[in-house]
């Protein structure tokens, strides 16, 4: 069974837990899932196994603390330590898929905006000019920032799971809002500050849309290959 099937199964069974057990289990689930570079399939197999165990125990009147102990963080750390690492190939496929999707998305946005400006507001031309070298630098920076962002989100999830304090929804919201703002500003700053260099290239704007569709198709094929 692949990771996706296991996750679906987990989602279907989790609601059978009672409130206290569900809260305990979901913390474990978030914490273990956010451990980076562990085999996704093995992780999901373990999570489903723990869920089945807890469900069975629940039907016998036991609760999560009886089964997994009163220190879930230490217990999860122990489990994470024993989980096998993700193999190189799925990780690279995932990185490639996200990269193609991101570049495809940017290309689509540029194409649509360019054409809308021209056809609806008579601004600009049907040709887009750009500096390939500059564009390349910007895209590489974007992808690096994107992966740093993903890492940060995982880190944040992990460290906040068993923090033990009553989490204030407002504080969490403001933290998330600030984080996303910094992330978006970085995108804009990089676009503005990267110097224009190298030769200029001109292509019909509509090609950008075609280009993005090709990138999406590649990303889709990579995703299928990964499953």
């Amino acid at each position: 069974m692949n990771a996706k099937t296991l996750i679906d199964l987990n989602n279907k069974k989790r609601p059978l837990l009672n409130e206290a057990n569900l809260a305990y289990y979901e913390n474990m689930l978030i914490y273990i899932r956010s451990a980076s570079n562990k085999s996704e399939e093995q992780t999901e197999e373990l999570l489903l196994e723990l869920l089945e165990h807890l469900l069975q125990a629940q039907s016998e009147g036991k609760n999560a603390i009886d089964i997994f102990g009163s220190n879930p963080k230490a217990y999860c750390d122990e489990l994470i330590q024993e989980l096998p690492k993700e193999k190189q190939k799925p990780r690279l496929l995932f990185v490639a898929q996200i990269s193609f999707q991101t570049i495809g998305f940017l290309s689509l946005i540029y194409g649509v905006i360019g054409l809308t400006k021209y056809y609806f507001f008579q601004i600009g031309t049907v040709v887009t000019s750009f500096y390939p070298a500059t564009t390349f630098v910007i895209l590489v920076c974007y992808l690096i920032i994107l992966f740093l962002f993903i890492k940060t989100v995982f880190w944040w999830l992990k460290q906040s799971t068993f923090a033990g304090r009553q989490t204030n929804k407002w504080i969490e919201f403001i933290q998330a809002w600030l984080g996303v703002s910094v992330f978006i500003s970085l995108f804009v700053v990089i676009m503005r500050l990267t110097p224009k260099f190298g030769p200029v290239m001109q292509i019909p704007t509509v090609l950008l849309i075609g280009f993005s569709l090709i990138l999406y198709l590649i990303a889709y094929l990579i995703k299928r290959k990964g499953q």
Binding site: L46, L48, E52, F68, L79
Partner: protein, 111 residues
């Protein structure tokens, strides 16, 4: 990790290998068998880190299968290396259990 819990882990590992040797079993089953034999103080969850380690060392393999009662469960069975590890554990345990028992009793400690 304290010496005590390390010792316990080693022994638990041997017990789990023995249980799986008897017949392929899933996590919950294994914990029930451990309890039936009187290891009641061991929290049920503590078998999972051990099962993961045994898998990583290729002593057992887990396979998702449909169980008799319905849900898919991960059944574990011994590998070739697992049989060898169990044999080693058995020999070591045989060599150690009586002497340790005698020493402890001779020290006058009995409950």
């Amino acid at each position: 990790m304290s010496l005590r819990s390390q010792m316990l882990k080693g022994i638990l590992e041997g017990c789990i290998l023995s249980i799986i040797h008897h017949q392929p079993a899933y996590g919950y089953e294994i914990s029930v068998i451990l309890q039936e034999y009187g290891l009641e103080n061991i929290s049920e969850g503590s078998i999972y880190p051990i099962l993961l380690r045994l898998q990583r060392e290729h002593l057992i393999i887990g396979e998702m299968r449909k169980s008799e009662s319905g849900p898919k469960r991960k059944y574990y069975q011994l590998t070739e290396d697992g049989h060898e590890a169990l044999r080693e554990f058995f020999l070591q345990w045989e060599a150690i259990k009586n002497p340790v028992d005698n020493i402890v009793h001779q020290g006058g400690y009995d409950v």
